[in-house]
Symmetry: C2
Subunit: 177 residues, 2 copies
């Protein structure tokens, strides 16, 4: 299935960005393809559309599953697995935040806690100890904040985002009271 020009551009770009987003090109391309096509596709259709090896598609689909970015859809009268991704950008955003948090944040939080618990911490400079504590505190705060935010309804989250820095008014009024 040959893609239309805009869809092709979208898929190719998403694939390139994938690298900076922490997944490889094929994984990101497949996600983009499922997202833009908006209907379940089987592995062979994906293979043909993207022009990569069938086995590459198989492994990439597994990777997308690990990211909770696709689900397989049974189709009546068709034995082949069909995959789809959400077409709701908010759900997509939430999933990516959740997954990246667990890959990019949580392991470091673990290590920093270990560092502070370890007996060796006392032999470091006071200033270095403080920096590790501050780093941990910031990462923990961001981590639980992200967890809370992605639980909000999309409309609510959009309002929070649209409001932007104006929330500081709320912060100010709270700390005065």
């Amino acid at each position: 299935m040959e893609l239309k020009p805009v869809a092709k551009k979208f898929v190719l770009h998403w694939g390139e960005m994938g690298t900076t987003w922490g997944v490889n090109r094929t994984v990101a391309q497949i996600h983009a393809l499922l997202f833009i096509s908006g209907h379940p596709m089987n592995a062979d259709e994906i293979t043909e559309t993207l022009g990569v090896a069938r086995s590459n598609v198989s492994m990439s689909l597994k990777e997308l599953s690990n990211w909770n970015l696709i689900r397989s859809i049974p189709l009546m009268g068709d034995r082949r697995d069909h995959y789809e991704t959400t077409t709701d950008v908010w759900e997509l955003f939430r999933t990516v935040v959740r997954e990246r948090k667990s890959r990019e944040f949580d392991p470091t939080i673990e290590v920093l806690r270990d560092c502070l618990k370890s007996g060796d911490i006392a032999s470091e400079d006071k200033a270095a100890q403080l920096r590790i504590k501050e780093t941990l505190a910031l990462m923990e705060a961001l981590s639980s904040w992200a967890s809370e935010m992605i639980r909000l309804e999309p409309e609510t989250m959009m309002k929070v985002i649209k409001m932007g820095a104006k929330v500081q008014q709320f912060v100010r009024s709270k700390s005065e009271s």
Copy 2:
């Protein structure tokens, strides 16, 4: 200069995480080293401490400059460049957000705008057009929100984060008024 156990663990872990954060191991290790050591270091000290090639350090320092994560510090009576990174985790956080936004978000916003402006967009499914529009809208909203948030004072930002999902009360009260 041999690192103390916790500093070593910190540097090695930061280096490994660097990969998932979009920089290579050496770059992340150098940043971690400068962060934990808390004083300006020259390239040779870094080289010796990390056990990598001098040229690797040189290139990695340049990369850290591109990320605005280090600055060079002139030291009285020493011709060699000395580098330091901020020891303020909030400033670090802000820099990383700014840089990652420009690398991971802005290029895609550009492409999505191009897609929508292009004459070819009309030949796509209505649903696909809508998804591109929604993706762009979300990314633009997040992008300007991030820009606003990183302008806040650390204390204010910390309060906003600590408050977490409670901001929705503010959102609700605003939309009622």
